[in-house]
């Protein structure tokens, strides 16, 4: 994906700037191969496997979006289920009106992004902790409003129409491809977003909000943009959720459990890195599949692990890998190397989690 951007003619100078300490061009090719192989899965594996993977895609998309919020913009939202639910309902409403649920997915994503704008206007008035609960109240309110409309199933929900013509095998395959597409597009969007100007602004905010503000970084705008993107992403994931379950039930799609899952997966994998949510989702899926027969246990264990990681290994599992190997699969920051040799490495870039931000400050 990224080739080290050697400062060609300036090579003689004492330093050079690269995106990563190692050349990671191969990861771009590897990622492409992984996506192609994943895309061929419906032809080579049983449908049981693909439906588990669809679940993984949903969690990975949501976790990546939550990571963008909490890890990069410092916004802890515990109300992202609002967008998961809205995405599901966008798909449902369009399907009732005759659109194919799959064609409804992009509309659901854009719709959620648009809805996120007034919601941001409401919740951005509150800071950190109160912002968190305010998003939660919003999610509850949106669910209560949607339950008022009996034409879309009221409080009990309804099955998703629009699948009558589909062969079951084909439907499973389409669902899988839709999930894969949403996930890949989300990851690419986040990657490009963070490599660009927004990533730089977010890094500045993370390191010192006041300094960033006074240097002209538009802090509020950057945060709003992240909130909108996260809303759209979670909406798309909610749409895939509706398609994979073939029904929409308000208490299920608006459950705070979604936020718990995306947050825990992100924290365990590593907050503030693109790789973190991917690893976290893998851990989540393994736990969920092994403990599936013990009801709520997987969430209990996941929660305990997330608490432990947040307290003792703030950079998560990927942080452990990164500390040892200095590998970045999705390099969004910069390395400054002295003499082109071993790094006297000053690393900038939004690679360190925002958690580290207040490490040495008194709690305020």
């Amino acid at each position: 994906m990224s080739v080290a951007t050697d400062a060609g003619p300036r090579r003689a100078e004492a330093f050079r700037v690269t995106r990563s300490r190692r050349n990671v061009a191969w990861t771009g090719i590897a990622a492409l191969i992984v996506v192609v192989v994943l895309a061929m899965f419906p032809y080579i594996v049983y449908s049981g496997t693909t439906s588990i993977l669809v679940q993984a895609f949903i969690v990975l998309t949501m976790a990546s979006m939550w990571n963008l919020l909490a890890g990069y913009a410092g916004l802890v939202s515990v109300g992202q289920q609002a967008f998961v639910g809205l995405g599901a309902y966008f798909v449902l409403i369009l399907a009732i009106n005759g659109t194919s649920p799959f064609a409804a997915l992009p509309v659901a994503a854009i719709g959620c992004g648009v809805v996120a704008l007034p919601l941001w206007w409401l919740v951005s008035r509150l800071r950190s902790g109160y912002f968190a609960i305010a998003t939660w109240v919003l999610a509850a309110t949106i669910m209560l409003i949607i339950e008022r409309f009996s034409s879309i199933g009221g409080g009990t929900g309804m099955p998703l129409p629009g699948f009558s013509g589909f062969d079951p095998t084909l439907l499973t395959a389409y669902t899988y491809w839709a999930g894969l597409a949403v996930t890949v597009l989300s990851l690419v969007a986040i990657y490009l977003l963070l490599r660009g100007r927004l990533g730089l602004v977010l890094t500045a905010i993370r390191d010192d909000e006041v300094a960033a503000r006074s240097s002209g970084a538009r802090v509020g705008l950057a945060r709003m943009l992240v909130f909108l993107v996260a809303g759209a992403g979670c909406g798309a994931a909610g749409g895939v959720l509706a398609i994979s379950q073939l029904q929409v039930q308000p208490s299920a799609v608006f459950s705070v459990q979604w936020t718990a899952e995306m947050a825990f997966a992100t924290i365990i994998g590593g907050l503030g890195t693109i790789e973190g949510p991917i690893i976290g989702t893998a851990v989540y899926m393994v736990l969920q599949q092994t403990l599936a027969s013990y009801n709520a246990w997987y969430l209990i264990i996941l929660g305990l692990v997330a608490i432990a990681v947040a307290l003792f290994a703030r950079r998560g599992l990927w942080g452990l890998v990164d500390t040892r190997l200095h590998v970045r699969l999705f390099p969004v920051g910069y390395w400054v190397r002295l003499g082109g040799e071993h790094p006297g490495g000053v690393r900038t870039g939004p690679a360190r989690p925002a958690l580290a931000r207040n490490r040495n400050r008194k709690p305020t």
Partner: protein, 291 residues
């Protein structure tokens, strides 16, 4: 008359919501901690009360004498371990840790005590009976008692914080921990005491809700935490009497909503909350001069 009744009921349930909210408000005011596990801890207190009543046979109305100290100790311990540790690492970690705690507690309750909802002291005259004014207004004794308890707790806290020596220390710590530390007091201990106080009120709130309605593992988040938070925001952050006002406004909004259509109860409360957020984000009682 039905509307008058709705308003009276709303004011009285407002006392219950203020009881939920004052612990949240206290912890934010002193430690700047927003405890997302607040509601679940209230449910834990309620379940503890049920345990104490059914297993140790403590009279229902005196169960709080056991539960409140136990929760206070749990609060002190949690503050000194988990919460202090996460505070040292910044606001984000505090939120993540308390959110994790909330999910863990809720699912653990679900796992060990099933999703069944259970009440406290059903059948007791105090919990069941009511008196009537005229033909339409019926007031439950319990709600009056809960309102009185809320007023007593809030004025007690207010008095403690503004007049007593230790209250002064708590306020000083809230203002500047390092200065307090230099003056020879351990701010971590002070935080622990504040958390113990907050958890004590949480315990009262949990027991009161168990008597007023029913507790289930999800009550903690979908009712107690969200109502407590709405009351705090409506009333104005960091003001204890504002919390009571916020609770009352929320309660009245819910009862009036329920009067229009029973299914509007929750929605009406949240809509008032959102309206306050839009038109008066600093809360109803905010004054500029207030510290």
């Amino acid at each position: 008359m039905a509307w008058v009744n709705a308003i009276i009921q709303g004011v009285l349930t407002g006392g219950l919501y203020a009881l939920f909210a004052c612990g949240l408000s206290l912890m934010f005011g002193v430690m700047k901690v927003v405890n997302l596990a607040h509601g679940d801890l209230a449910v834990v207190a309620g379940y503890l009360a049920i345990f104490v009543i059914t297993v140790i046979h403590v009279p229902v109305l005196w169960s709080f004498l056991v539960v409140v100290p136990v929760m206070a100790v749990i609060g002190y311990a949690l503050q000194r371990t988990l919460i202090q540790r996460s505070l040292n690492r910044g606001v984000l970690t505090t939120l993540i840790v308390t959110f994790g705690l909330s999910i863990v507690i809720e699912n653990a309750l679900l796992q060990f005590f099933t999703a069944n909802s259970r009440g406290i002291g059903a059948g007791l005259p105090l919990v069941q009976d009511s008196f009537s004014i005229g033909s339409q207004i019926q007031i439950a004794y319990l709600l009056v008692v809960i309102f009185a308890v809320a007023v007593v707790v809030l004025s007690g806290l207010q008095y403690f914080l503004s007049r007593s020596k230790y209250g002064r220390l708590i306020r000083a710590t809230a203002d500047d921990q390092e200065a307090v530390q230099l003056a020879g007091a351990d701010y971590r201990h002070v935080f622990g005491i504040a958390a113990a106080l907050a958890f004590g009120t949480v315990a009262l709130g949990g027991i009161a809700y168990g008597m007023y309605s029913q507790l289930s593992p999800t009550t903690g988040t979908d009712t107690i935490l969200l109502f407590a938070f709405a009351a705090v925001v409506i009333g104005g952050l960091g003001s204890l009497w504002g919390t009571l006002l916020g609770g009352v406004v929320l309660g009245v909004a819910q009862q009036i909503g329920a009067q229009i259509n029973i299914s509007y109860e929750l929605l009406a409360g949240y809509l008032v909350f959102l309206a306050v957020l839009v038109f008066r984000p600093q809360g109803l009682t905010y004054r500029k001069a207030q510290s």
